[in-house]
C-alpha cells in the first residue's frame, strides 16, 4: 500500500508574551492508504496543534516554521489557499473535539451540511440536501429530516459529533484526521462514536489519523501508534508490538498509568509535563526519566529502529538494542 500523507520535520511555534512556545519540534509521520494510525500524547505534547498543522490552518499566535506535508505529490504547507481549499474537506476530512463549537451557531445544521456537500462538488441544491439526509442516516441520527432544521446548541454532544462526522465523511475523503473526537462525551457515547468512525472509514477505504489522550482507544481501533512528548515522536510502532514491548520510558509509564488498582499511589514519573516555553536541553524527558544518563542532558536522541518497524527516541534504549 502506498503512502498517502508524508510529514517531514514539522515544526510549529507559538509567539506570545511569554516567549516562544515550541509546540511541535520536528515530527516525521506517514500514513498509508486505508491505514488507521493513532497519535497519543498528554496536554502540552503538541498533539492538539498537529491536526490544524497538517492542513495548514494554524492561527496566530501559532506559526508553522518549517517542514513539509506531502500529499499526492504536493506540499500542503506551500500550496496556495485556492488549491488547498479543494483538498480540504473533499480529500482530507477533519473531526475536532467539541462539535458544538465547531459548527456555526446561527445556521441550521442541515444547511451547514449541505453547504459542505456543495463545496465538495455537488452543484445541485436538491442533490446536496438528499445527500445530507443520507449522511445523517449513515451516522445513525434518528429522524434526519427533522434534524436538518436544528441549530447546533439544540443538539446533545453525541449527536453534534455525529453531525460533524457526517460533514467530514460526506465526500468520501481519502484521509480522515480525527482530533480527540470523543473528549467531553459520556463514556458510553464515546464507544459508540469510535465504533461509528471505525466502521465508516473501513467502508470508505479512508486512512485515518486518530489523535487522542486515551491509550485504550488506540489499542482498540488503531493499527499503528506514535507517542508524542514535548512536540516530538518518542516512540512509533505497530500497535500490537507497542503494547507488548513498550520501549521508551515515557511509554512504559503511560501504559502503567492506565493499569488499575495495584499501581495506585505510586508516582510513575516525577515532575510535570514540559513547558513548551522552556524546554530542557537534550532529550526532553531528562528531568523526569528513571534511566537518565549524562548524554541525555546534552544531546537530542534520534529515532532508532530497535526492531523492525519499531522506532524509539532514547539514547539508553538505542544502546541496549545494539
Amino acid at each position: 500500500m502506498s503512502v498517502l500523507l508524508d510529514v517531514r520535520d514539522l515544526r510549529i511555534e507559538f509567539h506570545t508574551s511569554e516567549g516562544i512556545g515550541r509546540a511541535v519540534n520536528g515530527i516525521d509521520l506517514s500514513v498509508d492508504e486505508r491505514q488507521i494510525m493513532g497519535i497519543v500524547g498528554e496536554s502540552g505534547s503538541g498533539k492538539s496543534v498537529i491536526a490544524s498543522g497538517l492542513v495548514n490552518l494554524v492561527n496566530p499566535p501559532g506559526k508553522i516554521v518549517s517542514g513539509t506535508v506531502m500529499y499526492r505529490g504536493r506540499d500542503l504547507l506551500r500550496e496556495p489557499d485556492r488549491s488547498l481549499q479543494r483538498i480540504r474537506g473533499r480529500e482530507i476530512g477533519l473531526i475536532v473535539q467539541n462539535a458544538k463549537s465547531a459548527l456555526n451557531p446561527l445556521i441550521p445544521i442541515g444547511r451547514q451540511l449541505a453547504n459542505a456537500i456543495r463545496a465538495h462538488g455537488t452543484r445541485d441544491a436538491q442533490a446536496a440536501a438528499d445527500h445530507a439526509i443520507l449522511m445523517l442516516e449513515k451516522v445513525g441520527i434518528p429522524d434526519p429530516v427533522m434534524r436538518l432544521h436544528s441549530y447546533p446548541h439544540q443538539l446533545s454532544g453525541g449527536i453534534a459529533q455525529r453531525v460533524m462526522i457526517a460533514m467530514a465523511l460526506s465526500s468520501n475523503p481519502r484521509l480522515l484526521i480525527a482530533d480527540e473526537p470523543t473528549s467531553g462525551l459520556d463514556v458510553t457515547i464515546q464507544a459508540q462514536i469510535l465504533d461509528l468512525i471505525h466502521t465508516l472509514v473501513h467502508e470508505l477505504h479512508s486512512a485515518t489519523f486518530l489523535i487522542t489522550r486515551d491509550l485504550g482507544i488506540i489499542a482498540q481501533h488503531c493499527e499503528s501508534i506514535a507517542v508524542l512528548y514535548a512536540g516530538l515522536i518518542i516512540e512509533q510502532a505497530p500497535v500490537r508490538v507497542f503494547f507488548r514491548h513498550p520501549t521508551h520510558p515515557y511509554s512504559e509509564a503511560l501504559i502503567k498509568s492506565v493499569a488499575t488498582t495495584r499501581e495506585r499511589g505510586r508516582r510513575l514519573l516525577p515532575g510535570t509535563s514540559p513547558n513548551i516555553y522552556d524546554l530542557p536541553g537534550g532529550c526532553p524527558l531528562n528531568p523526569r526519566c528513571p534511566l537518565v544518563q549524562p548524554i541525555c542532558r546534552e544531546a537530542m536522541p534520534g529515532l532508532q529502529e530497535t526492531s523492525p518497524g519499531h522506532f524509539v527516541r532514547c539514547h539508553v534504549r538505542a544502546l541496549e538494542s545494539n
Binding site: 490544524s52 474537506g89 451557531p105 459542505a116 463545496a119 441549530y151
Partner: protein, 336 residues
C-alpha cells in the same frame, strides 16, 4: 416558545423604565434654578399674580402630590406648557422631532454604509494598506469633536469652495417648507413632487448629516473590525475552512456572527444621537429637538426641559428595545 415570553418580558420592562426616567426627570427639574411662577408671570407682575400662578401650577402642594399629578399628566400626554414658546410642550417636541430624526437617520445610514464595508474589508485583509487607513480613521474619528469638525467643513466647503449652502437652516430662506406630511422636508418634498424644495432641503441636509456620519462611523468601524476579525479566528470558522468551504461562504459565516454586536452599537449610537446632535443643530441652525433643549435649559423653562428629556429618553429606550428584538430575530440561541 421562549421567544414570545422574552418579547413579553421586554415590553413589560419598559414600564418601570419609563417610570424611573419620569421620576428622575421630575427630580431634576425641581432642581432647576429660578422660580417658575415668577418667570411665567414676568418681572412686572405683582405678588398676587405670582401666588395665583403658583396655586395654578400646584407648586404649593406637598412634593409627593406634585409628583403624582405630574405622573398623571404624563400618562395623558400632557407635558405642560412652555413659558418660552407659550405652546404645549408636547406640540413643541412633535414639531421639532422630525427635523432631528431626519438628520440623525440619514447620518446613521451614511455612517453604517461607510463603516460596515470598510470594517469587513480590513478584517479580511489584515495589515494591508486599507487596514492601516481604516484603523487610523477609526481612531481619529472617535477623538474628533463633531462640532469642531462641522466648523472646519463649513469653512472649507462653504467659505472657500461654496459647494454647500450656508448653514442657516434646513431649506433655502427664500423657499417655504413643503406641505407638512411627516415634518421631514426631504420626505415631504418628495411626496409633493416638488423638485426645487427637494433639491434645497437635500443640499442643506448634506453637510450636517455628513459631519455626523464622519464622526460616528468611527466607533462602528472599530466595532466591525474587531468583531469580524475575532469571528474569523473563531472555532467554527477554522472548521469551516478545514471543511473546504470556499472563501465567500466562510466570509458570510463570519459576517453573520460579527454583525450582531455591530447592530447593537449602531442602535446605541442612534439613541445617543437624538440628544447628541445638539451641537451640530446649533451650528447649522437646524431647529430640531437639540436646539429646543438648549433654549429650554438655559432659560429655566422647566416644563420644556422635562418634556424634552423625557421624550428623548423614551426614544432611546424604544431604540434599545428594537435592538433587543432584532437580536432575538437573528440569534437562534435566544429564540429556542
Amino acid at each position: 416558545m421562549r421567544a414570545r415570553s422574552y418579547v413579553f418580558r421586554r415590553l413589560i420592562l419598559l414600564i418601570p423604565q419609563v417610570l424611573g426616567v419620569t421620576t428622575v426627570v421630575f427630580i431634576l427639574v425641581r432642581l432647576l434654578p429660578g422660580d417658575p411662577a415668577y418667570l411665567i408671570a414676568g418681572s412686572l407682575a405683582t405678588q398676587d399674580v405670582i401666588n395665583s400662578i403658583r396655586e395654578h401650577l400646584g407648586l404649593n402642594r406637598p412634593i409627593w402630590e406634585q409628583y403624582l399629578i405630574y405622573l398623571g399628566n404624563v400618562a395623558r400626554g400632557d407635558l405642560g406648557r412652555s413659558w418660552l414658546t407659550s405652546s404645549q410642550v408636547l406640540e413643541d417636541v412633535l414639531r421639532r422631532l422630525p427635523a432631528t430624526l431626519e438628520l440623525i437617520t440619514l447620518a446613521l445610514i451614511l455612517a453604517f454604509c461607510i463603516a460596515l464595508p470598510l470594517g469587513m474589508m480590513t478584517a479580511l485583509r489584515p495589515r494591508g494598506i486599507a487596514d492601516r487607513v481604516a484603523s487610523g480613521y477609526g481612531m481619529l474619528a472617535v477623538a474628533m469633536p463633531d462640532f469642531w469638525w462641522a466648523l472646519i467643513l463649513v469653512f472649507v466647503l462653504f467659505g472657500k469652495f461654496q459647494i454647500v449652502p450656508a448653514p442657516i437652516g434646513r431649506i433655502d430662506i427664500a423657499l417655504s417648507p413643503p406641505p407638512h406630511v411627516t415634518g421631514m422636508y426631504v420626505v415631504d418634498s418628495l411626496l409633493d413632487g416638488d423638485w426645487r424644495r427637494l433639491q434645497s432641503s437635500v443640499a442643506h441636509l448634506m453637510l450636517p448629516a455628513f459631519t455626523l456620519a464622519f464622526v460616528y462611523a468611527g466607533p462602528i468601524l472599530k466595532m466591525t473590525r474587531a468583531t469580524m476579525s475575532q469571528a474569523l479566528l473563531g472555532n467554527f470558522i477554522m472548521y469551516a475552512r478545514a471543511s473546504g468551504l470556499p472563501r465567500s461562504v466562510v466570509t458570510r459565516y463570519a459576517l453573520r456572527n460579527a454583525l450582531l454586536p455591530v447592530i447593537t452599537m449602531t442602535g446605541i449610537t442612534y439613541g445617543y444621537l437624538i440628544g447628541g446632535a445638539v451641537l451640530i443643530e446649533q451650528i447649522f441652525a437646524w431647529g430640531g429637538l437639540g436646539q429646543y433643549a438648549v433654549q429650554a435649559i438655559t432659560s429655566s423653562d422647566y416644563m420644556a426641559v422635562s418634556g424634552v428629556v423625557l421624550a428623548t429618553t423614551v426614544f432611546s429606550l424604544l431604540v434599545y428595545l428594537a435592538m433587543d428584538l432584532l437580536y432575538l430575530a437573528v440569534d437562534p440561541r435566544i429564540r429556542y
